[in-house]
Subunit: 189 residues, 2 copies
DNA sequence: CCGCCATTGTACCGTTCGGTACAATTCCAA
DNA sequence: TTGGAATTGTACCGAACGGTACAATGGCGG
């Protein structure tokens, strides 16, 4: 809790921004310090274990953020199609139409994957479970709901990769647009 | 061409391995040197611009490798289904069933994306074009072949992300298994 | 007004970073 | 055999790295 200017949440959000575009290895303490406006002292005061602590805090913050903005609406009552459309809309703004990188996809790389595997796996699992819940409500079997939910996350993450790699954000937009209908399509299409 | 032991190709392949699992920012000259058995002098002799040069060489090597192992078989004559199955098999061994990271997905992150955007975009484009060619042969319209081909790459890259993030390589295997049939499914399913 | 404690700036630690200089070595062509 | 080019080991550079020590500062409850 920096008394001067920023709340802890704001600090974490600025750390998030740096990790998103630099990755774990590429995010230096100097840049994290500049981005938050906190000196190294303060950074180590709030996050005693350095980058590891910061990254864990960022992931925890992301988890609650996703819980509120994404998973809760998915688990709420209402027509399945509407809930999936809401997810697509939220994701579209969250990733700025495919122009913003995914923190999860970024941390899944190499050694960082091992270091934060628990946190990463928990978030992915919650996401898949939330989508699967919608599909179960829509009448699909447990197994089919699960594999389709995994496929949804696969397509979202993959679309971010291809959109970034090809420079064509339209790939991400189109993927989001098709997703709800594809997920609810009759089985054995 | 190191005369002592390794061919240039072997050197590049060892550089590839390091970049794959460390990412660009995480790959230090020390590790690249150790992995190749070449001192920093030799590394800078063959790649005067340092990591940038090495990465570009790695991407060029990857491009020709994909050309031979993946794109050429896709563009060759034969039943569409068989060609797509061949791609799935090649990818399965290339990514060791989802356990090995994707160099492209790795470099698409943050600042490295800008630095190697041309090379990355070219590889993705060639990949999409090769798959689209199969789908055109299978009778799909140019537009549908294109979007389905993009979707194929999206699902492959996304499956690698989710498999790594969740620790369940099965996600990648299942995605590869479903892909050929999904791509060839009748339109408007 | 005081004292305390969270917070912070500054200076510094040893290490590693990417990169260079240069002399020694190796190699092959002549 | 020799000369020159390709190759390499070693030593080194300044900068930046992640991280720590500590003294000053500041606000706030008593």
């Amino acid at each position: 809790m920096p008394p001067a200017s920023l709340s802890r949440t704001e600090v974490i959000e600025r750390l998030t921004a740096v990790l998103r575009r630099r990755g774990f290895a590429g995010a230096s303490l100097a840049e994290l310090s500049k981005a938050t406006g906190l000196g190294k002292s303060s950074l180590y005061h709030y996050f005693p274990d350095g980058k590891d602590d910061m990254t864990r805090a960022v992931l925890a913050h992301l988890a609650t953020q996703l819980q509120q903005a994404l998973f809760a609406p998915l688990l709420a009552p209402g027509p399945a199609r509407r809930r999936l459309d809401a997810m697509a809309g939220t994701l579209d703004s969250f990733y700025r139409g495919g122009r913003e990188a995914c923190l999860l996809g970024n941390l899944v790389v190499g050694e960082t994957r091992d270091r934060f595997h628990g946190e990463l796996a928990a978030i992915f699992e919650a996401w898949v479970a939330a989508i699967a819940s919608v599909l179960r409500d829509a009448g699909f079997s447990r197994a089919l709901a699960r594999t389709r939910a995994e496929d949804a996350v696969v397509r979202i993450e993959g679309a971010l990769v291809l959109a970034a790699g090809s420079g064509q954000a339209a790939v991400f937009e189109r993927t989001l647009r098709q997703l709800p209908a594809d997920l609810l399509a009759p089985a054995k299409g």
